[in-house]
Subunit: 189 residues, 2 copies
């Protein structure tokens, strides 16, 4: 998706350790117009696929999922990482290892909000090692629901995320696929 790739080249920053910083337009400050373009493109790619719900995970998937959901006319559920007192104890939960945070955390979704009739589109900002998506797939499967596919803003093709997710039989649509990232330079597939 050209508009996203151009924006990454213009405003993204490649840091040491294969980290791509996009916090000026995706995950600290964000650009709602860009997210709308992403929503239109994901709707186009998933045309004809039944989608009854969008599932994402705290924190940086939420805003993208909210805007994208407008093109699918479905509710959004976000899996919680930081469950407070108000978290429904009757929840599905899965473990996710985060390389960025260097720790395993649990993601939880109340059993009320995914059910076996659902066909769920997973949304996230990044696909790198695939752990967050595997956690979401686990939650959807626990509910007996169907994963319709995944919609990702930025995929790092030099990490194994796509492979591990596709091995679960899940379709992956990424809007910008980065093939190489080194010496403060990146190139797209």
């Amino acid at each position: 998706m050209k508009v996203l790739k151009d924006r990454i080249l213009k405003d993204g920053k490649v840091l040491e350790g294969n980290i791509l910083k996009v916090d000026s337009f995706i995950n600290h400050q964000f650009d709602v117009e860009l997210f709308n373009e992403m929503g239109k493109e994901l709707k186009r790619r998933y045309e004809g696929t039944e989608i009854t719900k969008i599932l994402t995970v705290e924190v940086s998937g939420i805003a993208i999922a909210a805007i994208v959901a407008q093109y699918f006319n479905v509710p959004v559920v976000f899996a919680k990482k930081h469950a407070g007192r108000n978290m429904d104890p009757d929840s599905y939960e899965a473990d996710v290892y985060s390389y960025t945070k260097g720790a395993t955390f649990k993601v939880r979704v109340s059993k009320k909000y995914i059910n076996k009739e659902d066909s769920v589109l997973l949304i996230d900002d990044f696909l790198a090692n695939g752990n967050a998506l595997l956690g979401l797939i686990d939650l959807v499967e626990q509910a007996g629901a169907k994963v319709a596919g995944a919609g990702i803003a930025i995929e790092k093709a030099f990490q194994p995320g796509r492979k591990v997710v596709e091995e679960k039989g899940v379709r992956v649509e990424s809007l910008a696929i980065i093939e190489k990232m080194e010496d403060n330079q990146l190139s797209f597939k």
Copy 2:
């Protein structure tokens, strides 16, 4: 705002300790159509007020802020509670006490994303004791920017939030104001 009040009466649940659970349509699963109505109404109320940026805080303000921002055509920034390795060290930070979590936490915004020319609309799901808003106001003031006002989904008028925020000279617009909440019943102002 009638559509929000009706939804609270239909799907909200009053729990012990003055907790209003709205996780089926606001803060775990959320209804993007409802958030769009909230965006239109906030745009109407803030007509004629200069707004250059929307600021909210992790987690449940993010989706509302994203949808509302479409009516103001401005970027959104969310203050981070859970700063990972990628957090910009050059940040404004403020302390916020959360009654729901029973703890004080820091909220942080990179200095890059609020500057002294900004006129900032604060968005959050709840206004109760006002601590989250005070934290956001603190961040905006540290940046030398102006607080244009606050846009809140649900205000608990029996808690001191509005008073403490208005004492800071900040305008508060809440879309549903709950006057009383007891015995599993609530009434609006």
